[in-house]
Symmetry: C2
Subunit: 179 residues, 2 copies
């Protein structure tokens, strides 16, 4: 048995959406009692720490309806069914920034909200960037603006809440640690 495992006694599907789904599981706790867990399921995503020849971090600003504000993030996007994360990383980088990359390295995977969601983000580092002549189209409901910042600028944006996103705060710190 896995440590502190919570076995599902019953699972109730609540909603199946375009991006996420929601279910509520009745679980058996390690102490024999029962509880409920509300669980959002998500296809998983990639995010890309893309570094220009000048050592700048490539960022995109976009409106995030859940937060009712636009925020600045590293390029990222959902995995399509059956798509390899590396392919998603190249696709999203291209769509959101117009950059292709000669070097793409897998860094790590982490869960974003393990208390209520199964979303994981596969993080990649893209280097040797080049501008794509015929830029790929964004999704039809996606609007983004491109920024390129130095490590110091990224660090300042984190402190001043201009960067207000966990994966991007991680990327800014990672850039600083790996300069």
């Amino acid at each position: 048995m896995k440590k502190f495992e919570e076995k599902s006694l019953h699972s109730t599907p609540i909603y199946a959406g375009k991006v996420i789904s929601l279910k509520v599981d009745d679980v058996l706790l390690p102490n024999g009692k029962e509880s409920k867990r509300e669980i959002v399921t998500h296809p998983g995503a990639v995010a890309v720490i893309a570094i220009t020849a000048e050592g700048k971090l490539v960022l995109v600003e976009q409106y995030r309806k859940a937060l009712e504000r636009s925020i600045i993030e590293i390029p990222a996007g959902k995995l399509e069914p059956g798509e390899a994360p590396e392919h998603t990383a190249r696709r999203e980088l291209e769509e959101e920034t117009g950059y292709g990359c000669h070097s793409l390295t897998y860094l790590q995977t982490f869960a974003t909200s393990p208390g209520f969601a199964d979303e994981v983000i596969h993080l990649f580092v893209a280097q040797d960037l080049y501008k794509i002549e015929a830029k790929a189209e964004l999704d039809e409901d996606e609007f983004v603006e491109l920024l390129e910042v130095t490590v110091e600028e990224a660090e300042k944006m984190v402190k001043e809440q201009g960067i207000f996103d966990a994966k991007t705060a991680f990327a800014a710190l990672w850039m600083k640690a790996n300069q």
Copy 2:
């Protein structure tokens, strides 16, 4: 108007739960077209980078039903209604680790899953820790195990996916950058 703002035309409540709620908003995009946004609402949370006198990072291992595995995280927990984040931070640190702290400093706030959730985490740094004699009770459905690791051990755990959580990966990097 906020940059790329998506105005809600209609909001449909789907589910109101114990921890999260779900709604689907019909929105007007900047190009005048319409789309749907699935939005999870969450009360917000705190997380604590707690550092022992020996310079070790305090971690807790717990089962996360959404991921169907136990993972290692920095101490964290949901905000109660009306509760100041600093108070939540002290409470969760005490409940999950048995540590109180003489020094608690606010570090930053970030969104965990801005694509579909409004959850933000307020991050604190706790130092000058002391063991509490009469340890506060965990929530009745919470089971955690305490670990204390060096910065090097935390870094290794991130690389080997022993740390599989965004806020904790951030904490490990932050520790390294601020040694």
